[in-house]
């Protein structure tokens, strides 16, 4: 398993560099080609889903939350909470 992890990272890097570059990387990792090609197909679908504008919050929700945050900023309070 250890060898395929850097091979996958290498191919993912080539995913946006065109089919020729990707084919070159797959040739470089010929031993794992079949598995890498399958995983890259899934990645393409996930990236396509991530590119869509939806799902998105409603404008009303965004506007109300912004108003709440800006009100918080205007109110002098003891700040110093942590990141969770």
């Amino acid at each position: 398993m250890a060898d395929i992890i850097p091979a996958l990272a290498d191919c993912l890097e080539a995913l946006n560099q065109g089919a020729d570059e990707l084919e070159e990387r797959l040739r470089k990792h010929e031993r794992y080609r079949q598995e890498l090609a399958a995983l890259l197909e899934i990645v393409k679908e996930l990236k396509a889903m991530g590119q869509e504008e939806e799902p998105s919050p409603s404008d009303e929700f965004l506007k109300d939350l912004k108003a709440k945050l800006l009100t918080e900023l205007s109110t002098p309070t003891q700040r110093g909470g942590d990141e969770g």
């Binding site: 990645v43 679908e45 889903m49 965004l62 110093g80 909470g81």
Partner: protein, 193 residues
């Protein structure tokens, strides 16, 4: 409304101003990242009202802790998503301690991740497979391929090393492949060799 002058400023400048108490600068950071935080959380919880609540809590925590941000040396979005992750994990713990199961869409007519994904070829089955992953694997997939974060930024969010993120990414993709091949209509990824 978004201030066009602020919209052209670099993130570091906005953060510096927000730390100094500039409301408009924090507002601009919010404008830049609120949708992305919401989407990330929604992909994780699949529940509109919980996603809204966690998005709100994320920005309120950010407001409280922003004075500590500059020492982190990481993109603001990664820092926000780390806060969101901690809140998500807390929420999961609370849910585990409650008997109620909260895994169905409650957003009425609003588009759920599933209904949105159904509009894409194969999107629904891919999304179902993502939802079936365990929390950490699902988050790696969402961070890397749907949010588009680098390994380094995903590592910040997850509190792991870059190497650990690469391993988790591979395992999550392998689990997705298995799920799609075994569980969904005999889907098969042809060999390109």
């Amino acid at each position: 409304m978004q201030d066009l002058r602020l919209a052209t400023l670099k993130e570091e400048t906005l953060v510096d101003r927000a730390i100094a108490g500039d409301r408009e600068a924090f507002g601009e950071l919010y404008e830049r990242y609120a949708r992305r935080v919401f989407r990330h959380v929604l992909y994780m919880v699949n529940h509109l009202h919980v996603a809204q609540d966690l998005t709100e809590q994320t920005f309120l925590r950010a407001l409280e802790a922003i004075h500590r941000y500059e020492r982190r040396g990481v993109p603001f979005l990664a820092w926000l998503l780390r806060i969101a992750r901690n809140l998500y994990l807390n929420d999961q713990r609370v849910q585990r301690n409650n008997s109620s199961i909260r895994n169905k869409w409650d957003g009425g007519a609003a588009a759920s991740p599933e209904s949105f994904c159904e509009a894409r070829l194969d999107g629904e089955e891919v999304w179902r497979a993502v939802r079936a992953l365990d929390g950490d694997q699902r988050q790696v997939i969402v961070l890397r391929f749907m949010d588009g974060l680098s390994y380094a930024d995903a590592a910040v969010v997850l509190g792991k090393s870059v190497g650990a993120v690469r391993v988790a990414q591979y395992r999550a993709l392998r689990a997705l492949r298995r799920s799609l091949e075994d569980g969904n209509l005999g889907r098969h990824y042809p060999s390109s060799s």
